[in-house]
């Protein structure tokens, strides 16, 4: 696709602009910002990726992945209700999941050790992990908040912090991973996954595209479950001190 054809696609930006104006939806400004930002950001990413692919140097791949993890950490921290000191826990979680998935993929030679594969798969894994992190944190903090009395009761009867928070932890892990699992049950029937569509459009064999998409789907199952569990087990100890007392003040604090 050339820049000329791309400029024609701006029609798809114009339509919502006109509609917004006609129906006084007040969405013009945000639509414009969204369009401009996606053009700039994606083109920038495109050129950076081209540079990384051409250079064929591992260091750039690692830097690129690190950048994604930092961005994901920043985003998850900003969007999710929080627990004190969550930033580095998010970071550690994302790093572990990236290392785990790439180790399996590269170690078993499922995907070749090439920049295209490593970076695009990492992008999907880290992006998914970020969404899961936000889902988990929002649910977990809400569960802990509404069940403070139960936590206190279990502690008062001689329970440990882990026992006192167990139900909330499990509820939040389940609730945050269920959407990933559920959406995979209907995939292909209702919607074609974005990556597969992209590949098919680019001329890949549909069956090849499906096989690759399956790999990604399975990867995302691992990502979802490990993100929630890791984040859960890393973050709940912050809510207690060494005298096994519940620290309400460490819950949902806004980090500046």
């Amino acid at each position: 696709m050339s820049y000329v054809t791309l400029s024609l696609t701006l029609i798809f930006v114009l339509i919502p602009l006109v509609l917004s104006k006609t129906f006084k939806l007040g969405l013009e400004k945000d639509t414009l910002i969204a369009a401009v930002r996606s053009i700039i950001q994606l083109l920038a990413v495109g050129y950076v990726l081209q540079f990384v692919f051409d250079s064929k140097q591992m260091i750039y791949i690692v830097l690129m992945v690190l950048l994604m993890i930092v961005a994901a950490t920043h985003n998850a921290r900003k969007k999710g209700t929080s627990i004190k000191g969550i930033t580095w826990k998010l970071f550690v979680t994302f790093v572990c999941i990236e290392v785990l998935t790439q180790a399996i993929l590269l170690g078993l030679r499922i995907t070749p050790p090439e920049a295209q594969y490593i970076i695009s798969i990492s992008g999907m894994v880290i992006g998914n992990s970020m969404v899961l992190g936000i889902l988990f944190l929002n649910r977990f903090t809400a569960e802990v908040e509404t069940n403070q009395k139960q936590t206190e009761l279990i502690l008062s009867l001689g329970g440990t912090p882990k026992q006192a928070i167990h139900t909330q932890l499990i509820t939040a892990i389940k609730a945050s991973t269920i959407p990933t699992i559920e959406s995979q049950k209907t995939i292909g029937l209702v919607q074609l996954p974005g990556m597969m569509s992209g590949q098919i459009i680019a001329g890949a064999d549909p069956v090849q595209a499906v096989l690759f998409q399956l790999l990604i789907l399975f990867l995302l199952l691992t990502t979802a479950v490990t993100t929630s569990i890791m984040l859960g087990y890393l973050s709940y100890p912050t809510l207690f001190n060494e005298r096994m007392q519940f620290l309400k003040e460490n819950l949902a604090v806004e980090e500046s």
Partner: protein, 240 residues
Amino acid sequence: MKDAALELKHVHFSVNGLHILKDITGVIPKGKITTLVGPSGAGKSTLFKLCNGLQTASSGDIYIKNKRIGSYEPTELRRLVGIALQEATMLSGSVMKNIAVPLTLQGKQMEKEEAAHLLEIVGLDQGFLNRDASDLSGGQRQRLSIARTLVNRPQTLLLDEITSSLDKVSQQDIEKLIVKINQEFGTTIIWITHNLEQAMSIGDYTWVMMDGELVETGPSDLLNNPSDARVKRFVKGEIE
């Protein structure tokens, strides 16, 4: 002090710059029933949470058997000093699950007979075992909460307003039960109540707290003739 179940020395507690407990010093005699009274917000429940280890004093110390409570394992301390919390909180699930909690926390199981026996002690029919705990009335929850606290066989029992939702007759049942536990097992009891008559009839000793301070202590009939001016107004019902 030799026959002290609990000894408090200059205990202060502050939260967010709020001075909630101020210089509490006193002795809870072993094997006796001490009633704790005072207006709402005086700091009674907070004092209980310090004794059970749910919170730690900002300064000062609490001693059990001449050992600072900080030197006990938190879980050990909480089994030694059992508390029935003011809210009689229930976990979601059956009455059976709730009464067995102290054991399940230790990886043990409770036999149905034992659970039924405990319910019987607090005056609940064993038919309740399969009921959902969230369906219980306020008074039934309080009874279940007492039974649950007894499971750990604590040496000291902290009871926070455990009869506030009960009618007169049930109140007397629970009073008899607590006196019986005190006499049979020598369990030290501290009992928070808003009912001054109850405080006098049940208590061997009474502590009066106001605005975070311990203003008067002594044999429970002190409430008939308090020396402190504020306590005089409190027993006359002029301070809520």
